[in-house]
């Protein structure tokens, strides 16, 4: 089945939810669903690990701003 952004007559049944979801979408670096990528071995565990390591010190700083 196919969608076209130019024919959206029934594509936005809940504008309020859609607006909220779009706002969250913009704050995310990715909105990817990755089941197929995982099945085909395309998840870069090294990148995940480095990403986690890089974000942890930021989280600690945010949790203890006075320190």
């Amino acid at each position: 089945m196919t969608m076209d952004m130019n024919s959206t007559s029934d594509a936005f049944p809940f504008p309020e939810w859609m607006r909220h979801a779009a706002e969250v979408e913009e704050t995310c670096l990715s909105v990817a669903a990755a089941g197929l990528a995982a099945e085909l071995g395309m998840i870069d565990q090294e990148l995940m690990r480095k990403s986690r390591e890089a974000s942890e010190p930021v989280a600690i700083t945010a949790a203890h701003p006075a320190e």
């Binding site: 076209d4 939810w17 779009a22 913009e26 670096l29 990715s30 990817a32 669903a33 197929l36 990148l47």
Partner: protein, 188 residues
Amino acid sequence: MALLVAPEDLLTLESVWTPERSRILLEIARAGLPYSERPQSLNWNWRAKAQHLRLVPASGFAVVCDDEWQGAMLTKSGTHFSQLGEDHGKPLVYIDFLEVAPWNWTIPGIGQTRKYGLIGPHLFERAVRQSWDEGFGGRVGLHALPQSVPFYGGACWMTPLGPDVDFENLTYFELSRDNAERILERHL
């Protein structure tokens, strides 16, 4: 322009998206962005998996605007079953793949703002509607990248069911029938 999406169409998609991925990768390298600020799907290479894609039993959807693929999604219908509450064991629509075009990623570290928004919500809502239309009550399941967790857990009202060891420890999410009805605004 409207396009039919099948698993092997990811190869066509990649021929368009790969140059953009390369450009972003270069800008990220120049800016010295930390790993936490890099999109976690940046390294996906569907061309290397072409042989496998032809065997994937999925159908899908594309969002096309300005004659460009703005996003795409592959779904499997009735092959996965709910792990949630009273609907446990009932079939659902599983989103095997959902991705928006690289030019629609907002990457603050390199000053990139998305060209089009709403692509992710648009595709997700379509999967919910597919589930409803096929008699699955709007139930949807998927595995999310860590960077996608706030989107599916926060914006899409899905329930996180923890890391799945069979899927590279990605978090498995499900949308309940109740929340599907809220999204579709169909109250029985």
